[in-house]
């Protein structure tokens, strides 16, 4: 007998007295974890196929289903935990790299949870956002040192700026990695909320050009879907150097996901793998980056800000400073907890640094070099809620990107199996029978609601601090205190400890 050592991660419970054998779960599960047994005339489950995405649980009309961890324990061992044992089983069987989706799930320190926000008491009144204006408007783009004013009029126009009504944008996720319905949802939500979504590296589907005003188009190492109309279509161009979930490596969209639409949008043959090289093959140095930045500016008549997205790695402060000097108008830093459609598991879980430390280090470095005000700083990779946004801005960010959180608004349950193409929520898949499950009108409503809710919360906390315009929080680290942090961590974050 041949044992392949695989055991289920989850077990599906079916309450027999509730199940009507309606077989909705069978049709809903793209992983085929639910099976109809013709002989017994009842629905059965194959636990090993379950990814715990809750699709069946939420679609079961009689609430007969629940899922829990598979009750199987290895002999306790603090070093050889089940994760490492089962990883070895998998690799010994496949001879392949382990893949993962979304951001790392390892228990690294979450610095957001070690930062506390200030509020006004007595000496300085808090401001009530229900009674007073509270402004979140944010501009991203290059800022001059001063203004040229002649006879009371502006004598020189500002460089191009992105104007955001709330400091939150939807992060780069490509058509291919996510479905057209998911992208359309984000595009509509961005338009509705006065912010931006990002095409990722998969080009811009012809149906999305009409949202160009709220689009940031990305140019990545594979140059998929990049052409003149594409560059002109958006309000800004983002050069993607790296991604927080997998710094230093490229991307791979398997041929099975490259259907007709993806093929046309990416400008590659149908069914072919779309492989993004690890580096841009025309950027081997900072001076090469400058050339690409200016090529893109030339191509668009200097009418759009150019962003450079880099993964948070050890030397991030120096790299960001180089990017600013190379002509980037916006620098995007993606922390190591950032999500992805597919990444080698060991890379995802071990490469890069937390965004909180990277952001603080970059902001401090750019200030010590007196160039922070010239560029905008956008952070991505692990923003979970409005207070994370507040903390990021107080540490020095101009705005945040949300990716995972945006997908959760559309229904993502963080099962981390995006790379299988079997996303039951119609998000990380190109299978038409699955993508149709996500109605872009409903998706847009939910994504916009998320931004609306977070914006309300940000205003509430801003008012509490006695601040009525977001720019007064930006880099205002006195509004933060650390809790449970070492001297070193406090010094990198540039904040005092609570009680100080």
């Amino acid at each position: 007998m041949n044992i392949d050592f695989r055991t289920p991660e989850y077990t599906i419970h079916r309450a027999g007295e509730r199940c009507t054998n309606c077989r909705i779960c069978v049709r809903q599960c793209a992983n085929e974890a639910h099976l109809w047994d013709e002989k017994q005339k009842k629905v059965l489950a194959d636990d090993i196929k379950c990814v715990n995405c809750h699709r069946c649980v939420l679609t079961c009309p009689t609430r007969a289903l629940s899922i829990s961890s598979y009750p199987l324990e290895f002999k306790p061992n603090a070093h050889w935990t089940p994760h490492y044992i089962t990883s070895i089983f998998k690799q010994a069987s496949s001879g392949a790299m382990l893949l993962a989706g979304m951001g790392t799930d390892k228990p690294y320190p979450v610095y957001w949870d070690h930062l506390l926000i200030n509020a006004s008491q007595v000496t300085n009144p808090s401001i009530d956002p229900l009674r007073e204006p509270m402004e979140l408007k944010t501009f991203l783009g290059r800022k001059p040192d001063s203004l040229k004013i002649e006879n009371g009029e502006l004598a020189e126009k500002l460089p191009p700026q992105l104007e955001l009504e709330t400091p939150i944008m939807f992060a780069a996720m490509s058509f291919g990695a996510i479905s057209l319905n998911a992208m359309t949802s984000l595009a509509i939500a961005a338009e509705k909320m006065g912010t931006f979504y990002n095409t990722g590296e998969g080009g811009l589907h012809s149906s999305l050009y009409k949202y160009g005003k709220n689009t940031i188009v990305q140019v990545a190492s594979g140059r998929f879907g990049v052409h003149t109309d594409y560059l002109w279509a958006g309000s800004a161009i983002e050069i993607k150097i790296g991604q927080g979930a997998k710094p230093g490596i490229g991307g791979h969209l398997p041929g099975e996901k490259v259907g007709l639409d993806v093929s046309l949008t990416r400008m590659i043959p149908e069914g072919s793998d779309a492989i993004s090289p690890a580096p841009h093959h025309d950027i081997y140095s900072i001076e090469d980056l400058r050339q690409l930045i200016y090529s893109l500016k030339e191509a668009t008549d200097y009418s759009k800000p150019v962003a450079v997205k880099i993964a948070a790695v050890h030397n991030i402060a120096a790299i960001a400073s180089g990017a600013a000097r190379a002509g980037a108008d916006i620098i995007v830093i993606d922390g190591f907890r950032g999500g992805t459609g597919a990444a080698p598991l060991r890379t995802r879980d071990n490469v890069g640094i937390p965004i909180e430390l990277a952001l603080a280090a970059v902001d401090s470095r750019l200030r010590s070099e007196s160039i922070r005000h010239q560029v905008s700083l956008v952070v991505a990779g692990s923003i979970r809620c409005s207070s994370d946004v507040i903390k990021a801005i107080a540490l020095g960010a101009d705005a945040c990107y949300i990716g995972s959180a945006a997908l959760m608004a559309l229904g993502c349950h963080m099962c981390q199996k995006c790379y299988t193409g079997k996303c039951n929520w119609g998000i990380a898949t190109q299978n038409p029978s699955l993508t149709k499950r996500l109605d872009p009108v409903v998706g847009a409503e939910r994504a916009a609601n998320l931004l609306k809710a977070w914006s309300h919360e940000i205003k509430e906390m801003l008012g509490g601090m006695g601040i009525n315009a977001l720019e007064s929080l930006r880099g205002n680290r006195l509004m933060l205190r650390g809790i449970g942090l070492t001297e070193k961590e406090l010094s990198i974050l540039g904040v005092k400890h609570a009680g100080e």
Binding site: N124, K143, H373, M465, G466, S472, L473, G475, R477
Partner: protein, 365 residues
Amino acid sequence: MQFREGQVRIPSGCAISGIMNRKGNLFSGNDIIKSIALMHDRSNGLGGGFAAYGIYPEYADFYAIHMFYESGACRETTETFLNEHFEIEIGGKIPTRKVASVTNAPIIWRYFVQPKPDRLLQSGLEVDEYVAQCVMRINSEYSGAFVVSSGKNMGAFKGVGYPEDMGEFYKLDTYKGYLWTAHGRFPTNTPGWWGGAHPFTLLDWSIVHNGEISSYDANRRYLEMFGYKCSLQTDTEAITYIFDLLLRKHNLPLDVVVTAMAAPFWSAIERMEPEKRELVKSIRTVFGPLLVNGPFSIILGSRKGFVALNDRIKLRALVAAEKGDYVYVASEESAIREVCPQPDKVWAVAGGEPVIAMLEGVDQL
């Protein structure tokens, strides 16, 4: 242990008052002392001070450096620095009276100086910038020494005590100026340092300020990129540097500076004429980090006049009045009526709307 400004951030509430004669006629310090004394309860005896313009006509072309020293030794080391960088026309103690409530006064000196021509040439700086940098060096590098003021034909007089006691201590009744501002302090901590009292000054600028700004660290960190050292960690210091950066270094018109510091709301900007809208939008885009947020009322004094300003949602009191050539501003109307019982006009200053009083023939501060 008591902390000082610079070691810890000390917020404070306050009273402010200012009087100016637009024709440049000189008047004694008696009125400003009476005005600020009326608001006695707005301060708590932990800081009072005055800025006076037009008081040194005989040395009008010299930078008047007012100094606090903690000891004779630090006076000597600082004077070595002053001698290296300036030609000192004359220097000496600032005359004071004995006042029972004023104790622990530092050694208080003043010098009338000009930059040494060769040092100035070497530095490659504008003369004002040269003086400003020397002032910042003394304040940050010479422990025990503090530059109280450094402008021409003006001076700051301040210390720990109620403002009216400071006025008496410094014999301000014997000085004559065309512009006086005053400050009574109510710090929410217990510092006992004379340097921490207001006004805060740099070159000709003096600031008296009531409030606690919530944008302090955002303002400070922006200013530091332009070479300012916010060593006192006070709002007043930051606000002074904002004015200095925008008015002197960037040479921007006063209305632009006021728009940057107390910006109109976006809802109001939307309603402006297209050209004005673009200008104000650009100001907010570029100088957003210099928006002064949270409650404040300030009087910025300069050789050419003053501007008084409230935060944009008026979280602090500020009243203004006119009588003939005189312009008055104060935290309370009573403090104006105390010295000018029947003003021609008196009004509550709106949030974000500056009261500008300039000497005749001057159109920019």
